[in-house]
């Protein structure tokens, strides 16, 4: 067979064409393509909260209030943060129940929707109406539940009456404003609002957005394109256009980064730390890597219904026999600090002086002997009744990091004579059935994602143990019961003044470390991979993504 010269030429030129196309260097740096591993399912800010959505929405929306990079609550859409000191918040106003708080907010007068319509108290009222309606299906119902009334003062100020005394009355981060002038007609049938909302049917309508950018184009499952918002009243952002591109598979998202298809990988919904570290090992000099320990507390819940785990000595022994320092330094290069309690070291009320459990297998063995697990047979401990010291360790299947840690734990516990069987489930089964209904037999590994200064009341108070009778509500999944803990949590809800509040929280951490309702592992870090020419991205460590400060992003000179 004779090769056809003409078609060979054609193929060659075609290949050349592709080569040229994919090696376009030096592009104008007024656009940015961000790679993420998850695409938001829908766009209505009130319905279905997920990390991918809150990251993407942050380019085109602002929250009422927000924690800044120093972990202080600040006003974004309002002009002054209400507090007791400045008189904008008043405890126990009689006409609205004797236990409540009345908080005055003033909206920023410059704030307008992306179509030029001013943001007014009408929008506030409408949002409240949607949020509190039982048929809307709002995911963060709490903020709407606790508002007993909203009193409109004028087009830009209102008083919000909360039905109970809390210390975080000024926090309106989940009160996500909706544009009344667009959405009111879609809310005529509340049960169908979730499907008829303009956020789903006309996502690119600029009137829905009010951030530095507006949504310009959405290709579901693939990407969202943002263009600058003509009516944005704050600092002018640098990039003309930002594209967020979803590529789920790790290998292909990194390949895309190397091939230049994307400029950076977002830390919030990007690579896990071990993936990022492995990538850095090879391509470290081509990109900037930012690691930031965050408020994601990775831990293992004990099930207190298990008689073996009721014994504090067993819980402590389990912790003593794990070399968490080695895990942190060897697997995570020290970027994920060892946790000593459930409170992050970056938190203002962090307590350094809690009981710490450095790796000490001798001590673990001694504690287990004392607890009655003294007979050793084939490397496994037994008690005098002949029961084996064996646990079932559960976590989400498909999470590579957790599965790695699981195997380390399994191996290290075996050294002190504790047997562990691994049983993993897909997330929907694990969180939707096993954890929430406390069906795990002994140990369950997962993470808590919390806001700065949040009180772990729902996770530690004995009234918050999920059961069939309370409809499985509450998050005290271990079933931890300690009257001292309950008392402290109740007090901390009421005493908002600073030294008292902080003192309570410090004592709480001590008790936590002493009693170990759960086994603290580490605080997970976000890993941002950004191009060397980009600046302004500063991971905060709390749950608000870097995209909330997109107007500060720029190009290095």
């Amino acid at each position: 067979m004779r090769p056809d010269q003409k078609s060979a030429n054609k193929i060659a030129s075609l290949l050349l064409f592709f080569c040229l196309m994919w090696n376009m260097p030096a592009y104008p740096k007024d656009t940015l393509v961000i790679g993420v591993t998850q695409f938001p399912n829908n766009f209505n800010p009130l319905i279905n909260s997920m990390m991918a959505k809150s990251y993407i929405l942050a380019f085109a929306r602002k929250r009422m209030t927000l924690y800044d990079e120093n972990w202080n609550l600040v006003c974004v859409l309002c002009d002054m943060l209400p507090s007791i000191q400045n008189g904008m918040a008043v405890f126990g106003k009689k006409s609205y129940g004797n236990d409540g708080v009345s908080v005055t907010f003033r909206l920023d007068k410059r704030a307008v929707w992306g179509d030029g319509t001013p943001i007014t108290t009408k929008d506030v009222l409408f949002t409240w109406k949607v949020g509190k309606h039982k048929l809307t299906g709002v995911s963060d119902y709490e903020i709407f539940r606790r508002i007993s009334n909203i009193e409109i003062l004028d087009s830009h100020s209102f008083i919000m009456h909360l039905d109970q005394q809390t210390c975080d009355f000024a926090n309106l981060d989940n009160f996500q404003l909706l544009p009344a002038h667009i959405e009111a007609k879609n809310f005529s049938i509340p049960a169908e609002y979730r499907n008829r909302s303009a956020y789903e049917t006309e996502t690119t309508n600029p009137g829905l957005w009010f951030g530095p950018y507006v949504v310009n184009k959405v290709v579901p499952g693939s990407h969202v394109i943002f263009e600058q918002n003509k009516f944005w009243w704050g600092r002018k952002p640098h990039f003309k256009r930002i594209t967020v591109l979803a590529i789920e598979n790790t290998a292909s998202i990194t390949a895309n980064l190397l091939a230049g298809g994307i400029d950076m990988i977002a830390g919030e919904i990007g690579l896990t730390i071990d993936q990022a570290l492995a990538f850095q090992q090879r391509y470290g000099e081509r990109f900037e890597f930012l690691y930031k320990p965050s408020l994601i507390y990775e831990h293992i819940d004990f099930n207190f219904d298990n008689p073996i785990l009721k014994d504090r000595r067993v819980r402590q022994a389990l912790l003593y026999s794990v070399d968490r320092n080695a895990i942190s330094s060897q697997l995570f290069k020290g970027h994920q600090p060892v946790a000593h309690s459930n409170i992050n070291p970056l938190d203002a009320s962090y307590n350094q002086d809690v009981k710490k459990y450095a790796f000490n297998p001798q001590k673990a063995r001694k504690l287990l002997d004392e607890a009655g697990w003294s007979t050793n047979k084939d490397g496994l401990r037994y008690n005098h009744k002949g029961e084996a010291l064996r646990f079932e360790l559960m976590t989400t299947s498909g999470d590579k990091t957790r599965e790695l840690i699981q195997q380390v734990l399994q191996s290290q516990w075996r050294h002190v004579g504790v047997g562990v069987r691994i049983k993993n489930q897909p997330p929907r089964v694990y969180f939707g059935n096993t954890i929430n209904q406390r069906r795990f037999k002994s140990l369950a590994m997962y993470a808590w994602l919390s806001a700065p200064n949040s009180l772990p009341r729902s996770q530690l108070h004995s009234a918050m143990i999920p059961s069939k009778t309370n409809g499985w509500s509450g998050q005290n999944f271990p079933g931890f019961t300690d009257p001292r803990m309950d008392k402290m949590l109740d007090e901390a809800e009421k005493k908002c003044e600073q030294p008292a509040q902080r003192k309570l929280r410090k004592r709480l951490q001590q008790l936590y470390a002493e009693e170990l309702p759960a086994l603290p592992l580490y605080f997970r870090a976000t890993s941002h991979i950004i191009p060397k020419w980009l600046n302004g991205i500063e991971p905060t460590g709390h749950q608000y993504s870097t995209a909330n400060w997109v107007e500060h992003w720029g190009v290095k000179e």
């Binding site: 995911s139 499907n195 590529i247």
Partner: protein
């Protein structure tokens, strides 16, 4: 024949009905419904809230009556809304089905374009070195784990050589024809390599069998040109088995592309169904799986008809005997 077809269609319809119920129940039995997840993530939700939400999503009714309601409206073409995407199910499925069918169709086309000539080529030179080499390559194609192949292809063609993009559907803001094609190349390579091996071997085997048939020998003995014989008689006779084979594999179209779609971020229906199941998007998962079922049944139907048409031993009569 007509009798057979009518019977067969009726039987398949019954199977669809039963399978749809089984699928409905299976998805319904999967633990962790959306409300359970919502309650677990929000400590303040009370049991009243949970029953309120369950009522809102219609989850408070027994499975059978839910199925009945669903089947009734599905008959009128109303498949409901996707819970996760807040859009009509078909609005989500159609474009993605299009993407998958495009990818799978093209890869099948290329696979056939490779398999038919090479299969014939190998069949008329049995037990030569070329034949062995072709055989080896075919087996290699069949035996590679698909996601491993995808990974190797990405590393080689897109990272090392940077010829083709590593994944996605189109360059953002570009999306002309060439651009789209360049995104299709790598997934097509993976899928084609995977299917071509099996098809080639199948083509070769059938061709060998046909070439041994008496009438071919007669034609050759009469002095007909070998290539002419091969093409005219043998080729035509080998097409039916190929169609049968494609028919049987039709059911795998939706699920078969799952790995490729995942690796290359291709927005296809396989990935959509997978995510819908894991994300508990009841309607979307259900309708997607039903389409897959329909494909399987249609494929098996086509395969049966082909088998009967080509194999005189399996007659229509034997289907109706006894």
């Amino acid at each position: 024949m007509l009798n057979f077809v009518v019977c067969r269609v009726f039987e398949s319809a019954v199977v669809v009905l039963i399978v749809s119920f089984v699928i409905y129940c299976l998805i319904g039995f999967m633990p962790g419904d959306p409300i359970d997840l919502m309650i677990a993530s929000n400590p303040e939700l009370t049991s009243e809230d949970s029953s309120r939400l369950k009522k809102l999503y219609g989850l408070d009714q027994p499975l059978v009556s839910r199925y009945w309601n669903w089947a009734q409206s599905a008959l009128y073409g109303d498949f409901g809304y996707s819970r996760v995407y807040a859009q009509p199910v078909m609005d989500i499925l159609w474009p993605r089905m299009g993407n998958t069918v495009l990818l799978m169709g093209l890869s099948l086309f290329f696979a056939l374009a490779i398999a038919i000539p090479i299969g014939i080529f190998a069949a008329i030179r049995p037990n030569t070195k070329t034949d062995y080499l072709i055989n080896l390559l075919c087996f290699a194609g069949i035996s590679i784990p698909p996601f491993w192949l995808a990974l190797l292809v990405i590393i080689f063609f897109s990272v090392t050589l940077s010829w083709f993009p590593a994944g996605g559907m189109e360059t953002v803001g570009k999306g002309d024809l060439w651009d789209r094609i360049s995104y299709m190349v790598l997934p097509l390579i993976v899928l084609t390599l995977h299917t071509a091996g099996g098809l080639t071997r199948f083509m070769r085997a059938n061709m060998r069998q046909t070439l041994r048939q008496d009438y071919i020998r007669t034609a050759r003995a009469k002095g007909a040109n070998t290539y002419k014989v091969t093409l005219n008689h043998a080729f035509r006779n080998s097409m039916l088995p190929i169609i049968t084979m494609i028919g049987i594999s039709l059911g795998g179209v939706f699920s078969g592309a799952l790995i490729t779609e995942t690796m290359f971020s291709w927005l296809g229906v396989g990935k959509t169904i997978f995510d819908a199941i894991l994300g508990n998007d009841f309607n979307l998962a259900l309708v997607g799986l039903l389409f897959a079922t329909l494909m399987t049944l249609t494929g098996s139907f086509i395969a049966d008809i082909c088998q009967i048409a080509m194999d005189p031993r399996v007659s229509f009569a034997s289907q109706d005997e006894k």
